[in-house]
Assembly symmetry: C2
Homo-oligomer: 376 residues x 2
């Protein structure tokens, strides 16, 4: 197997487009990774996820280690075969979910002991166990184990947390070892503080990773503070490696983060919103539950080429969502994932042709223009 390589094809300002190539396929950047928490992108078959244009999925270490268990997935041939997705998979380290979902957490230098939120069983997540679990899953892009810094927190808390994460990053690197065809990404921490972000980036560069994530954002700080942090924190990361903004985000967050030099994203928003009846469109989100859609023969998004928009009316989507039919989640999730992938393709094309600034301006103008006209 070849190693994983990152090639930049074009830049415009800080925005970049390129390809991260892996033995399991190329990842076009800027890339959006649909979230497949429990070995499924909820309400989608993997072939349909691929049809939306996704090059890579994200899997959640915390969920999979608890159910069905990483050794079981390894025995069954790894996560790719288990969930029928042969293209690249990135797994998170479990660090974020263990702090938000697990019970009876205890944080030490060694790692985090906790009880499963599913059955109360006891577990340890540490740099070493996280690397082992992600190896058992067969992840192509492994994330180093870090502490999710709470928000808000004091500067001292952010510094202490970041420094622990950097010691864990070094242990993650050592535990990961040499695995041709598999990449290990480090995660920058430091909250919203530029000097801490710089210190974190320097520590990660010293250790050496195949890619670099920006962690600790999209945790409630708001878009302004996220963007102002990205303005200073991204520049400390190596230019020749992919940069991944974890857990982001809304379409407008993604456009703003690409403008600030980010290459990779993941977020539950398109799939989760689909299940709650929200559809993304170039003119902003639509709540299909609203009574005004009950008789509307028009598609959710007339510009979209997905089955939800080519085969069904807003009236139908309204009906099946109100009736709590599974097909509502299937169709709206498909559309939202397609919307995100079309956005990413638009960003890549715009950067490649030097039109990113214009693209971003048109994106904002259309998004703020309001939903389609009321039916006559």
């Amino acid at each position: 197997m070849t190693d994983i390589r990152f090639s930049l094809h074009a830049t415009e300002g800080k925005a970049r487009t390129g390809v991260l190539s892996t033995p399991r396929g190329n990842i076009r950047t800027p890339a959006f990774m649909p979230v497949g928490t429990a070995a499924t992108v909820k309400a989608m078959l993997p072939g349909s996820v691929r049809e939306t244009g996704a090059d890579i999925l994200l899997g959640n270490t915390y969920h999979l280690m608890l159910r069905p268990g990483a050794p079981r997935i390894e025995r069954l041939g790894g996560l790719h075969g288990f969930m029928n997705w042969e293209r690249p998979i990135l797994t998170d380290s479990g660090g974020f979910q263990v702090m938000s979902l697990a019970k009876l957490r205890k944080l030490t230098e060694e790692g985090v002991t906790f009880q499963s939120h599913i059955d109360g069983s006891k577990h340890l997540l540490s740099p070493e166990t996280s690397m082992e679990i992600q190896r058992q899953l067969g992840s192509d892009i492994v994330m180093s184990f870090d502490e999710c810094t709470p928000f808000p927190c004091t500067r001292d808390e952010a510094a202490t947390s970041m420094q622990l994460s950097m010691r864990w990053a070094e242990r993650s690197r050592a535990a990961f070892g040499e695995r041709p065809g598999h990449a290990l990404f480090g995660i920058q921490q430091g909250g919203v503080h530029e000097d801490l972000r710089a210190e974190s980036a320097a520590a990660l560069r010293e250790i050496g990773f195949d890619g670099y994530a920006v962690g600790g954002l999209a945790v409630g700080e708001g878009q302004d503070l996220m963007f102002s942090t990205l303005d200073h924190c991204v520049g400390h990361l190596p230019e020749d490696r992919p940069r991944y903004l974890m857990g982001v985000g809304k379409p407008e967050d993604i456009v703003g983060a690409v403008a600030r030099g980010i290459d990779m994203f993941d977020c539950v928003m398109p799939s989760r919103s689909g299940r709650t009846g929200q559809g993304f469109t170039p003119r902003g989100p639509v709540n299909i539950r609203n009574a005004r859609h009950a008789d509307d023969p028009r598609p959710l998004d007339a510009t979209c080429d997905c089955p939800c928009c080519t085969d069904y009316s807003r009236a139908y989507l309204h009906h099946v969502h109100r009736s709590q039919e599974i097909i509502a989640s299937m169709l709206l999730t498909w559309h939202n994932l397609r919307y995100y992938q079309r956005l990413m393709q638009g960003l890549r094309d715009a950067i490649a042709t030097g039109d990113f600034t214009g693209f971003a301006a048109r994106f904002d103008e259309e998004r703020l223009s309001g939903d389609i006209e009321p039916l006559a």
Copy 2:
């Protein structure tokens, strides 16, 4: 548009195979109709339903008249366009569901007044309103409005109920009128009593229908009584028209009913069972929730060509079902519908080649042979 025509291609004993041709496509018989209650076959896209081999769907008048409403569906272009299924649709008359689901029912000679189980709104279902609603839906095969005879009931109750249904059948015929390209089926009643079944059949033949359903079975009487009733009741129906056994059933019910001269079936079992974790196989049903599947790398049904069986292990299905993931319902429903359609294809092929008796014997032998061997 041409009229709807029924051609018998081969018979073996009472078993028959043929084609019911409609302007929207041919229906190969014996046929199984997946149930699309609320304008969706639950957890399936229509294209996938077609891929399982279904030639026709069933829609429920009662559910659709209450939500989203038949006039709305008519305004939106009819049920076919609304739910993106261009092939034939049979709609029931609402008579069965109104008795099992509606609140504050009042039965008179005119029809049934009731309150919606969804929002408490008041409605009337009668031969005339049922025909009008089914016309608004755009149904290809319309069912006459009948009373669902309770089970168990006395012979007198069965007679009184059947005679009311026959008066309603005549009103249904008159209200349906002449609609080229659309068929009206009558429904035989009479419980388990041969003389009442004969009287009902004679009344229906006198009125004249494009097809004949056997109603009032599969309501809790058990397979023995259902089969012994079919033994005498089917022969009273015209040979040159399709015969439809409503709401049936288990795979073994279908095989036994085909042996007794039935051509068409519908049942929620394959889709409902899929959502509760039951998968049909030639060796009997499998409960995927059972812990013995947790590590089983084998497909649900090694003989099946559906995506559930070609792309996933029992271990995966077990995991996603236990995790309450939507994909579990999607995959198991797809498999079960494919299982049913493969069974129907097997029945058609067997009758066409004079092998029906052998097919039925092999079907029983395999079904009773028990599930696949335990994993070594």
